[in-house]
Symmetry: C2
Subunit: 224 residues, 2 copies
């Protein structure tokens, strides 16, 4: 990659760029590197693997928590253009919790390694603000997950609906609009769309125009 | 309250104070006020009630979410010296979720009203950083709640233990150390202590030296 390309990525990806001194810009440009993760690679594990901040260039990464008995709950997913901040959580004092981060598919990212990130964050308040504002955005993602999946039961209600409908017809595919499903199970169209997207990202269903196909009945059953 | 007292509270309570200009210090000191909330008063409700940032002087406030069917989950509690930031969530772009906040007991707080808070946050990056760093600390509190209560099942395991032990003896009080309980139910002492504190704040048990007394059996049953 040519140096200019990299600077253009840094300028676009990190809103704090304009607040950096010339020396800080040089430090950032010189220290960052392009990293590749294979499908399923573990990117972050509590404080054991803590590599720094990642700007996703292609692919997909997933942040999740793991229960004692091995059950996983996906908190959120990041795609091209998104910045992964919890992969630098070990230098963020206000982050006092543990998550796991993995690449769901082959992923390319720009890595700002931990030492450089830490130094920039310590000496420039705009970098620190960027980190904590991003953390708060992830907080919003997690709150959605809690409210809809763990708490409001929208996942369960949707899973029951999908299970019952396919049991009725004996087929794997049902034809309903998101709006119709929302009215059937007393939810909002927006919630159903986001929940179906979640199920589809988890590989439980596949979505095509007006149709929902069950791909993994045993995982769907786990939500009943 | 004398002006000097108030400035001393602002200095101690808000770490951004030293980064404010003289004009900003004056704005903050002149706009903030002492507010009282009765027991059970609603302090924040989505974007309908959004009064600004609160520094708790005495009492206790609770942040919680409410399900469609009226079930409440307490996310965290704040006490003397804590700052409540989500009561100003309507001006924090990165906060895209809804919570409810109430005073659990008669509470006195220093209020930085929304317009002044918004103005300070817009013109001084240190105030914005303070707000988002605090939000991230609350994110940590919420992650603890999710992992232990909604996900890891520590609440359920502890409730089963308390239920079974009191059923065995027919009494309302059991005598175990937190460490003993942790070993019985395969958890960590720290988790049991925090979970018992949670149950005690919810009014389900009362704690005294080496003893746990069940106060509300029907609520305890809800965790089984």
């Amino acid at each position: 990659m040519i140096q200019n390309d990299r600077i253009s990525i840094l300028e676009t990806g990190f809103s704090f760029w304009e607040h950096l001194s010339e020396e800080e810009k040089e430090l950032l440009a010189a220290s960052c590197s392009i990293v590749q993760f294979e499908k399923g690679a573990l990117i972050h594990r509590h404080d054991e693997i803590c590599i720094g901040m990642l700007l996703v260039l292609s692919g997909q990464i997933r942040t999740y928590i793991l229960s004692d008995d091995g059950r996983e709950v996906t908190l959120y997913r990041l795609y091209k253009g998104d910045t992964c901040i919890l992969s630098a959580s070990c230098v963020l004092d206000a982050v006092a919790f543990d998550v796991l981060i993995e690449s769901v598919e082959p992923t390319e990212a720009l890595l700002v390694p931990l030492p450089a990130f830490h130094r920039l964050m310590t000496q420039n308040v705009h970098v620190e603000l960027f980190a904590y504002k991003l953390s708060t955005e992830r907080f919003s993602d997690v709150m959605w997950t809690i409210q809809q999946i763990l708490f409001m039961g929208a996942d369960k209600r949707l899973a029951i609906f999908l299970w019952d409908e396919t049991a009725k017809t004996g087929e794997d595919t049902i034809s309903y609009t998101h709006d119709q499903i929302a009215r059937y199970i007393g939810s909002a169209r927006e919630v159903i769309s986001r929940m179906l997207k979640y199920f589809s990202e988890e590989g439980i269903v596949s979505l095509s125009r007006g149709k929902i196909r069950i791909l993994d009945r045993s995982r769907l059953k786990g939500y009943l």
